[in-house]
Symmetry: C2
Subunit: 655 residues, 2 copies
């Protein structure tokens, strides 16, 4: 800031800041030995560097590299990209026992879920199994969460299914499959880019409330979709909104639902829900719920096989391809008319998948108190989906339900994902043909039981209690999803979240302060009704940085308060207001529009013969007040360290 | 909030908040007779009502209507719509003298400017004069600014000219004129809607910095456009970017510029700039600059008439239609292929016009300290442009230069606009044919002299000094306008403004606090390097409301600080950190994501055996902490009125 004119004058004036004549002070006011400080001067370059660093590198990722040799940096960089190299060195048999058990548990849960979820994406079952083989392996090497269980999830499968079939309505065509791989590839690219460009904070714009609503809406939509398999309906709508689905269901009722299917579905749904309930009541029995889907599949498959119920109209899986993933590198559309659609669907599903994974990762990281690097996590997810798209997988992410089971089963590291991956591989190699007679109704039951836990009614009640606006955002997303589509619900969620930010930045809170008797503490009179206003003074606090978006509002709000207070005080026979004290503590920053607003406020106050006094401007604010010479206009002797100082200087003697 | 469960428990716990054993306290700490207060409970309806009221009706427009009879309300409503009914009653001869002189002054300034500005919009001169007749009249009845001078302005004329000719390249066609009226109509509708729907705050999103840059860019673009008239070039580019224009100018140089034109233009440009300089040096001589354009027109017209310079290639105005405005109601496209373009151009030009008018209105309102109702102002502007579009006018707004002259000439009320309007009417009726021989070069000189004052270099230097980010926004808008187009410049300005808001809400400031020796005041250690940190404690202050967009960042920022401090303190042989005090004063609001972040922070701290202490949560925050039962988790005894209280309770004895 070497361009600043008249810096000496400012410094000189700064030196003259006093806290008023001490003879007027009494009571327990503060010793006045401190002045409003200016932060150390920074060069422009450092200022910009710091600002960029705090925005994009708040975690200071390069801190560890300082003072290391070239080889040291290379090792650290490698460790940073592949955290397994770091934690792998401390790996021991005890940890492996935990990982083995949890890996086997989540494998038994993921295999039936995979076969079911593939249906949501309108893909053949093996593609979901492929995904559960490749993605966890890649994640285990690159990811930093110790609890997350990787694989296909219900919501992303549904999102892919609806968006892909909007583009290519023939879901059996080879183009459909190719577009799925394309979308997966670009989902990975999106995630990777967000991580590399350190734009991870963008997913913070999807608020918790919006996610709760979106998840619940998606869960309801998915459950409703299962009515097809559950009731054995043959002609089912391809739409996902509740109106179309219910119409389909009731139209089918006339031609008769398939009662054998319903009996099978209902029986296993009850079984699954009961085991879920048991696990919920007794946390130690979590494994009961974890293996019940596998048991349902085995029992129902065996049952159908011996009764040949499939001949009575019970729909079965029929065919799951045996063997491991084939390369799908040549299947991805890198040009042609589907490229645009692939990118669009990829970006959306990549962001949604990321949101889910990061939410899970954060939850467990907080529970066990280990650091989770959001940007690194995104790079891991991105790499995993890019590799997946080349090996016949579709979009994978962290699964809420399986991660919880993984955690409860005592997983220690990402090795549990490797164990799961190996089990899935063995399944693909050896036993997939056995799934031929698995009835679709059981898969529907498994999905319904799984997605029910995504409807977090407790969280919704809490939203209602804590923040009505959040509740509205939640419901908006929920109804958007179930009455229109997954994409519309997502759009509503984002729009409401943004609207909230806009309201926040244009209408910050401004509070009138009063003095707590017997102290030098000034507090919001709304919160502390006993706090007393000072005769002849109005003390207000601006609770936000002052920017172009709110500077006019703040100025006008203060002036309006002043007018209202003057009327009120005159009416109650008090003396008029002579001093306006603005408590600036919460004002962390001010821009040129804010400076202008203060100039205008000062001019308006001058006309009214009221003095403007500032209390405790922060480091950046005081610097900008100096730079704009506003301190000279207002007067350096009008800027105080605390409200109490200002009051003791200018206030009535009895204070 | 009657739904809250366990309110009694909360209230009971609240009663138990103490400030720690008083035996441990000494020094000048505060008397501990106050508790963290909860604001009075509100019903859901009141809460929502208050929030909506503060967002859309911060000025409480209906306050005056309270307790009035039906007739009283009617009169007030009429007065509110037509402020002239209110101030008109106090109008007297003394005020009229001021208004008459200023009205005549701005009329003499506006007539030559109008004829020149019409060219920027590719319209015949009379349409600008029509606009200066109708618009000021409507505004005088409905507007609340006393100093603004209404009429066509350079920037909006340029914006209309470029956007309209993008749609209809044949600027001489009748369609072009009709589209101009259509755009004007929808500009009025936009302004009216923004006022009626009380969305006036939307224009606050165009920051001061962006406006400075945009205006300067537009001024440069307009000045460059004048090279056509100034140099007498016949084939001139229709593009506005600096590259195309300069290419045009130098290509024309080969075929010879018209030297007679250049002489006339240069002579009068020097005359205009000298008078401007005189007026600037001596504020009392402002009228010299105000009437110099009129003198230039008269002298140059007379000169061309007697020398018949137009036969030597000096381009002249040729024809200005005599008579008053005709109705253009039937000319507006309410359907057909141009409707969409009309709406789009109308919305953009309406917003830009409004930005300019509101900026002017606010400046003078602050100078004279009178209230300006932004939403009412928008309705007046909207009405004025809608009426204008029906009477052969194009978009009018407040002019920077003429408003300043109006103010300096001593205007008292909007009557000066009426005086100006009458003068323009007389001009239209009587003397327009005399403008036939006015050389275009003089008009170009008038425009150049006028727009130069829109390039506010002082403001740019101030931007650089105060806020580098604002400076970047300003330059972005400026270069966007001159190198690309007016629209792109506007887009860049808005985009940069929004980016700033996003950074602000995702990366709020968090400060570490220290104690100022001999006081109970805790301040940012960066600003007050002498402030001492407390042994065994880390005190941080969050300087923003905690929302979904920043809650994770805040949590992680605090945890990172904690880790860094622990390392540092251990290195310097100090004891580890046992308490984390979060000063919550600036945290005006918290949403569910914020509550979750605090829960996660609490869990992480527990693992590290560090106690979480909150100081001075605000009214909304304490309510939400209770609603979410987070107070029970953290412990009511960990919530204090001030940091000093918390330190004196848990801190080391020597503090």
């Amino acid at each position: 800031m070497s361009q600043r004119v008249g810096d000496e004058a400012v410094t000189k004036a700064m030196g003259e800041i006093r806290s008023g004549p001490s003879s007027r002070r009494h009571g327990d006011t503060l010793p006045h030995i401190h002045r409003v400080g200016s932060p150390p001067k920074q060069t422009l370059f450092k200022e910009i560097k710091d600002s960029v660093a705090e925005t994009f590198f708040p975690d200071k990722p390069l801190n560890n590299f300082k003072g290391k040799s070239f080889f040291g940096i290379f090792v650290l960089a490698l460790q940073s990209l592949f955290p397994i190299l770091e934690w792998g060195r401390d790996y021991n048999l005890k940890k492996f026992r935990g990982d083995l058990i949890s890996g086997l548990t989540i494998a038994s849960l993921c295999i039936p879920q995979d076969i079911a979820y593939a249906k949501l994406a309108h893909l053949d079952p093996q593609y979901a199994l492929y995904t559960s083989f490749v993605a966890p392996l890649v994640y285990a090497f690159m990811g930093s969460s110790r609890d997350i269980a990787i694989g296909p999830v219900a919501v992303v499968s549904l999102l892919l299914g609806t968006t892909l079939s909007d583009e290519i309505s023939n879901i059996k065509s080879h183009e459909y499959l190719r577009l799925a791989f394309t979308a997966t590839f670009f989902a990975g690219v999106t995630q990777m880019l967000l991580g590399v460009l350190r734009l991870g904070f963008l997913i913070d714009f999807l608020s918790h409330a919006a996610i709760v609503g979106f998840m619940a809406g998606a869960a309801i939509t998915i459950a409703l979709q299962q009515l097809k398999g559950f009731l054995g309906i043959k002609n089912f709508t391809t739409k996902t909104d509740i109106v179309s689905v219910m119409r389909s269901v009731f139209q089918a009722a006339h031609h008769g639902w398939n009662w054998e299917t319903i009996v099978i579905g209902l029986a296993f749904l009850i079984f699954l829900l009961v085991t879920k309930y048991i696990a919920k009541r007794n946390k130690k029995l979590f494994w009961v719920a974890a293996i019940s889907p596998m048991i349902s599949v085995i029992v129902s498959t065996f049952f159908v096989y011996i009764t040949r119920a499939d001949k009575k109209g019970v729909a079965i899986v029929r065919h799951v391809k045996k063997g491991v993933n084939q390369s799908s590198a040549s299947e991805i559309f890198f040009s042609g008319k589907y490229l645009g659609a692939g990118i669009r669907i990829g970006v959306i599903s990549g962001m949604v998948a990321l949101t889910e994974a990061v939410a899970i990762g954060r939850t467990f990281a907080a529970m066990k108190d280990y650091a989770l690097d959001g940007n690194k996590e995104m790079m891991a997810m991105g790499a995993m989906n890019m590799v997946g798209s080349l090996t016949s997988c579709y979009v994978a992410t962290g699964s809420f339900s399986r991660s919880a089971v993984n955690h409860m089963a005592g997983c220690k590291t990402a090795v549990s994902n490797i164990v799961m991956s190996i089990v899935v591989l063995l399944t693909l190699l050896l036993i997939t043909p056995l799934f031929k007679y698995t009835p679709n109704a059981v898969l529907a039951s498994i999905i319904i039981a799984a997605v029910l836990s995504l409807i977090n009614i407790k969280a919704m009640i809490l939203l209602w209690k804590i923040d009505k606006f959040d509740f509205v955002a939640c419901m908006g997303a929920l109804f958007g999803v179930i009455f229109k589509s997954v994409e519309i619900g997502l759009l509503i969620a984002v729009a409401i979240s943004f609207a909230k930010i806009l309201v926040q930045v244009t209408r910050p809170r401004v509070a009138v302060l009063g003095k707590l008797s017997g102290t030098t503490v000034y507090r919001n009179v709304q919160q502390y009704p006993k706090a007393a206003q000072i005769n002849g003074m109005l003390i207000v606090r601006v609770d936000s940085a002052i920017y172009f978006s709110n500077s006019n509002y703040i100025k006008e709000r203060i002036l309006r308060w002043l007018s209202e207070e003057e009327v009120q005080r005159t009416a109650s026979g008090l003396s008029g207001i002579e001093y306006l004290i603005v408590e600036m503590s919460p004002v962390t920053d001010i821009d040129t529009s804010g400076i202008h607003a203060f100039e205008e406020l000062y001019k308006s106050l001058q006309k009214r013969k009221i003095q403007l006094i500032l209390a405790n401007p922060g480091p950046i604010v005081i610097e900008k007040l100096h730079a704009s010479k506003l301190t000279d206009v207002i007067g350096e002797d009008k800027i105080f360290l605390t409200v109490a100082d200002a009051v003791s200087t200018f206030g009535p003697n009895e204070v």
